[in-house]
Amino acid sequence: MDLLGYGAFFLTTALIFSLVTLGLNLQWGLTGLFNVGLAGFVAIGAYTSALLTTPDDAARLGGFGLPILVGWLGAMVVGGVAAAITGIATLRLRSDYLAITTFGVAVVVQLVALNAQKLTGGPFGIGFIPRPFGGLAETPLLFNLSNLAVVSVVTLIVYLALEHLSRSPWGRVLKALREDERAAISLGKSARFYRVQAFAVGGAIMALAGALQAHFTGFIAPDNYLPALTFQVWVMLIVARAATSAPSSAASWSGRFGPDREP
């Protein structure tokens, strides 16, 4: 029984990672955009959702006590906007500029998480994040299984939506841009516009994954979002080969068996 509960817990964590990988796959696999700061976008999502849904806390801003779904949506919006701004600044330049800037985003998010105590709780993090089916926490098995169901449904929805998107005209433009930019531009497609969109959607998915994890564990702190997380997700995606979105979930599961993150 305990083993089953642990299995459900493990699968939930793996699915959350596969959700991040799906976001990265949209950015890199489908569009060829290089994000070295994805830990920052995951953190943005986690903190946004935590801020919106936690009960009021005198020590910091808010705790607005909103429903969990509002937190998830808010996380996607903020993560998407942050990614869009990053994209607008860099996507007309060489690909390395995007890499450097996303790296900077991760550094600054880490800095804000650590130092803006009024907003993020600083090094002590944010606790008491409402958990879906929190009432079931007495029986860990039931709690883990119901959370697994929630995360599975969300991941499945995102996966199907991405599959649909990549086959849609929008996804075909992205692939065309990745394969032969000049040919695509000569057909009248604005490279920068489409890339900013793809980057923003990818950022929103990463933020959603961050929010899911925050609500699953109930506590977040700056240490959860170190550069090692970025590299871990990249390894998951590389193992799954770029450009196919299905195997990324499988790879992110196997990724959890690998060596643990660096301290």
Partner: protein, 302 residues
């Protein structure tokens, strides 16, 4: 406002600038942003520390040169450290980057450098532990030089050293055949090959110069602040920002960019607070990308 931030800023700027020279050269000649460059700094500092230890073991304790906190063992050790860091960069290129470069996709090399950076850092933590160490625990008395500014003898020596090194690299780039080959390769790689420039040699010189300067920057941090495995990684964002602010490929630009960022950081520490220091380079980076992405002395990409 106290003018002390000028000295602090110039010192931080020297470290950033020396590192940024390596970043800008790798970027313009090898065409990728090297995320492992910060860890060359840390490796340089630890290699120098190990060399100081070895010299101390061989020759016994040697008194530091009058007003400075270090003596000739450290000076000799820096030269050894520069050689080791240069070789490390060459080795990494041989084992990793050269192979991936041959495949033609620049961004894969960037990812590899990100992985290499983590491996190098973890290796340092494994060998030397993550506890900070120092070249010298002696405390220097800062001398007042007017306008409320105080400066230690070490700081003066390191500022002079930076000026000499920057001048040296500038002369290398503009006055020697090797330097001109480097410029040619960065401006137009295909044409440079056609006129018979030895690309492999230029690549080697780039790595050695970048590695050696990173080592000096690392030792400067070690002398003025402390040595720890993450010291270089924390310098990565300021170095990239300085290289882009100065214009990719420009050595004077990288140094000027480094000084501007160093001064801005020191000013921010005084005005806003030390904890927000790292955000300064990000703000400057974003501003440059929006306003003038080719940087101060850059040329438009072709």
């Amino acid at each position: 406002m106290n003018l002390q931030f000028v000295v602090d800023g110039l010192l931080a700027g020297s470290m950033i600038g020396l590192g940024a020279i390596g970043v800008t050269l790798t970027y313009s000649i090898l065409r990728f942003s090297n995320f492992a460059h910060g860890d060359f700094m840390a490796w340089g500092a630890y290699a120098t520390l190990a060399a100081v230890g070895a010299i101390g073991a061989m020759f016994g304790k040697i008194a530091p040169i009058a007003p400075l906190s270090f003596g000739w063992p450290l000076i000799a050790a820096v030269v050894i450290g520069m050689a080791i860091t240069g070789l490390l960069a060459l080795l990494l290129d041989l084992m990793l980057f050269a192979r991936l470069r041959a495949k033609g996709q620049a961004i894969i090399v960037v990812m590899a450098s990100f992985g290499a950076s983590m491996a190098l850092r973890s290796l340092l933590e494994f060998i030397f532990t993550s506890r900070p160490t120092y070249f010298s625990r002696a405390i220097q008395i800062a001398m007042p030089v007017g306008f409320g500014i105080r400066i230690t003898p070490d700081q003066i020596a390191l500022l002079l050293l930076t000026a000499v090194l920057v001048l040296g690299v500038h002369l290398l780039m503009t006055r020697t055949q090797t330097g001109r080959s480097m410029q040619a390769l960065s401006q137009n790689a295909a044409l440079a090959r056609i006129v018979g420039i030895d690309v492999a040699k230029v690549v080697r010189v780039t790595w050695i110069v970048g590695g050696a300067l990173a080592c000096v920057a690392g030792v400067m941090i070690g002398i003025l602040i402390q040595i720890r495995p993450f010291m270089g990684f924390d310098m990565l964002l300021p170095m990239f920002a300085a290289a882009i602010l100065g214009g990719i490929g420009s050595v004077p630009g990288a140094v000027l960019g480094g000084l501007i960022i160093g001064l801005a950081e020191a000013g921010a520490v005084q005005l806003i607070g030390a904890e927000w220091r790292a955000a300064v380079s990000f703000i400057i980076l974003m501003t440059v990308l929006f306003v003038r992405p080719i940087g101060l002395f850059g040329v438009r990409e072709r």
